[in-house]
């Protein structure tokens, strides 16, 4: 039995909120690990970019913040004193804070990844009782990531097909502008197709969808409890 998309999105939002509220590194690590296991249910090809983004940003915060924030007295490593940055010491307290912030960021990223990879966005849009156009815009923006990835692959292939090798950040950065231009063109074509199918007419109906199950209600209750626990004890 599976959760309906709207309760599932609310549960993921609750887990994200818990990650922001929790202070205990172990609790955060458990949250992040649980979300990672959830994301691994998505097909390998589609999840790779999301997982890379979520984990690498958390890792970057963990690695950089001890050098950018100064605090604590238990020095583990003493580095040089640099202008502007000050002493490059690493303390136990700095590492703990870096781990907390890194895990928070990764957990948030993984919660978004699970939302983007695993939920039925169509039913989410349908479940929103108001502002349907805005909900559809969010769903389309979520789908932008895989289509951008596909376009980026196509662009890179087209360039290699001409015998041009783009390497490094600077080389690949040359593809950003055409990628954005291509996305805008795609968005314009889609908008035209949507208008031709009646999008924007006043009124509108919804196709009947399955009602929430008891599992959905239990999951929402548990998610609310998790947020409270995150704020008070985790």
């Amino acid at each position: 039995m599976r959760l309906s998309p709207a309760p599932a999105a609310l549960v993921l939002a609750a887990v994200g909120a818990t990650a922001l509220l929790a202070r205990n590194v172990t609790s955060l690590a458990i949250l992040a690990a649980a979300l990672l296991v959830l994301c691994l249910r998505a097909p390998a090809r589609s999840r790779a970019l999301y997982l890379f983004g979520a984990i690498s940003t958390g890792l970057s915060v963990f690695l950089l913040s001890p050098f950018l924030w100064v605090g604590g007295g238990s020095v583990l490593w003493s580095g040089p004193i640099l202008p502007v940055l000050g002493p490059l010491d690493v303390t136990t307290e700095e590492l703990a804070i870096a781990a907390r912030n890194g895990l928070r960021l990764s957990a948030l990223g993984l919660a978004f990844s699970a939302y983007a990879l695993l939920l039925d966005h169509d039913r989410l849009v349908a479940a929103v009782p108001f502002a349907r156009r805005s909900a559809l815009a969010v769903a389309l923006a979520t789908r932008l990531v895989p289509s951008l990835e596909r376009d980026a692959r196509g662009l890179a292939e087209a360039v290699r097909g001409r015998g041009v090798v783009l390497s490094g950040v600077r080389g690949n950065a040359r593809l950003v502008s055409p990628l954005v231009a291509g996305s805008l063109e795609r968005a314009s074509n889609l908008a035209e197709a949507m208008e031709a199918r009646g999008f924007g007419r006043p009124g509108g109906t919804r196709a009947p969808r399955p009602a929430w199950t008891s599992l959905d209600r239990v999951a929402l209750g548990a998610a609310s409890a998790l947020v409270v626990a995150g704020a008070l004890w985790l």
Binding site: D122, R123, V125, E195, T205
Partner: protein, 446 residues
């Protein structure tokens, strides 16, 4: 009474020359109309005018009058015309809104305020009508181009339009897929206007033919009379048969032996594929949608490393992807072509002239028409004069005259001692040798 009436329509996109000039015509209920003409001649603009997208969505200068079921398209928004009119565009990927097939078909019905209880039955019936009921629960992102195009047709049919407009809907389909697609239109009550570049299909389908060139409606006649007119005035539109000149094959430029390939740990899309291309030769690689033609073309060009088997090339390879107009990377046409030859403007200018694009050197590539962009893509690959030129579906959406010109150019390119491999659905595209790639068998000569 006419279903649609176009009176003295002249239309220009913002800042451009007229795309349509003084076009007048009437469409009767239930008519089957083929709309023919070169790329950039105004066919798509005429379809968009009938759907009200011109001028509402695109802006521009609009003179004359277009009425559909008595509704003036200048005062009726396209969204309000939806249901009376439905349009299917060339590229299905650019028209899909939702992630699941059934929801996608239901989207238009929800917009049209169809009563909720009737939405799923109508969506199911439309999918069944195009032979795609089994796709109901699938993710749209997982469908092949052909499957997705049929879903787009189902989305249009679900609206039960009185006028169905199809803008090159079979350009991505293999021949059996295209024939099935057109067969699915046979029993419709709606009037159908079909814009197509594979003219034999359109002529067989239609009972009336329109021919547009440079924005002018040059021909509006019943099918038999139209065929006679085309044979006399635009013979390539009546008979697209092209012949390959004699080949004088030289040394081998590409040798692929028992190659296998799988994407990201998935099932193998190629198994034991073997092919050879000699210098001086144009080889056509055929096969149905999803048979692995594109994968094999990329392996041949060195863009993909095979999981098994060997690939030997003598010299450099160049690869022109499907829909090359989408993958342009510079902001000036001349720079786009010079990009492949280290900024050599002289060679780039010569290549642009060879493809009839010398006049556009200073333009932004995205300001060109789709046909011009495809030629630009080819110029950008060919400028480096690779020993092996691999092209993926180069005739997709290409008009008969340009297709003939492309074939001539490729044979001349091969005759200069280079090899050409063309992955194509187009059985009418000439080649010295044809190979067919089926899903579960190795390549066979045809």
């Amino acid at each position: 009474m006419a279903l649609a009436r176009v009176e003295g329509l002249t239309f220009s996109y913002p800042g451009a020359a007229p795309a349509l000039r003084d076009v007048s015509l009437e469409l009767a209920p239930g008519e089957r109309v083929a709309l023919l003409g070169p790329s950039g001649s105004g066919k798509s603009t005429l379809l968009r005018a009938l759907a009200g997208l011109v001028p509402h969505f695109h802006g521009g200068r609009f003179e004359g009058r277009v009425e559909v079921e008595g509704l003036d398209t200048r005062t009726t928004r396209p969204a309000e015309l939806a249901g009376v009119v439905a349009i299917v565009f060339q590229d299905p990927e650019d028209q899909v809104v939702l992630t699941r097939v059934a929801n996608e078909v239901a989207f238009g019905l929800e917009n049209l305020s169809v009563v909720p209880e009737a939405i799923w039955p109508r969506a199911e019936a439309a999918l069944a009508a195009v032979g795609s009921a089994h796709l109901h629960g699938r993710l749209t992102a997982e469908l092949s181009g052909g499957e997705l195009q049929r879903v787009c047709l189902a989305c249009a049919l679900a609206l039960r339009p009185r006028l169905l407009l199809l803008d090159e809907p079979t350009s991505q389909l293999d021949p059996p897929g295209a024939e099935r697609f057109l067969a699915e239109l046979e029993g419709l009550d709606a009037a159908v206007v079909l814009s197509e570049q594979r003219t034999e299909r359109a002529l067989a389908f239609a009972d009336r033919v329109l021919y547009v060139e440079e924005g002018l409606l040059l021909l509006d006649a019943p099918q038999p009379e139209a065929i006679r007119w085309l044979e006399q005035h635009r013979p390539r539109y009546a008979d697209q048969a092209l012949e390959a000149p004699p080949a004088s094959p030289g040394s081998t430029v590409l040798e692929v032996r028992r190659v296998a390939y799988a994407y990201g740990g998935g099932p193998r899309v190629l198994e034991a594929a073997t092919l050879e291309v000699a210098r001086g030769q144009v080889v056509a690689l055929e096969g149905p949608n999803g048979s692995g033609k594109t994968t094999l073309a990329k392996v041949a060009a060195g863009l993909l490393e095979p999981a098994a088997g060997t690939v030997r090339r003598s010299g450099r390879a160049g690869y022109l992807s499907q829909d090359p107009g989408r993958y342009l990377v510079r902001e000036r046409v001349l720079d786009e072509v010079a990009f492949g030859v280290g900024g050599d403007r002289g060679r780039a200018e010569a290549a642009l002239e060879a493809f009839g694009l010398g006049w556009a050197a200073e333009r932004h590539p995205r300001d060109l028409s789709s046909g011009e962009r495809e030629r630009l893509g080819l110029a950008a690959v060919a400028v480096a004069e690779p020993d092996l030129l691999v092209l993926d579906e180069p005739t997709r959406g290409v008009d008969p005259d340009r297709k003939a010109a492309l074939a001539d150019w490729l044979f001349a390119y091969a005759a200069d001692g280079r090899g050409v491999l063309v992955a194509t659905h187009d059985r009418g595209f000439p080649a010295h040798r044809r190979l067919s790639l089926a899903r579960e068998e190795a390549l066979v000569a045809v």
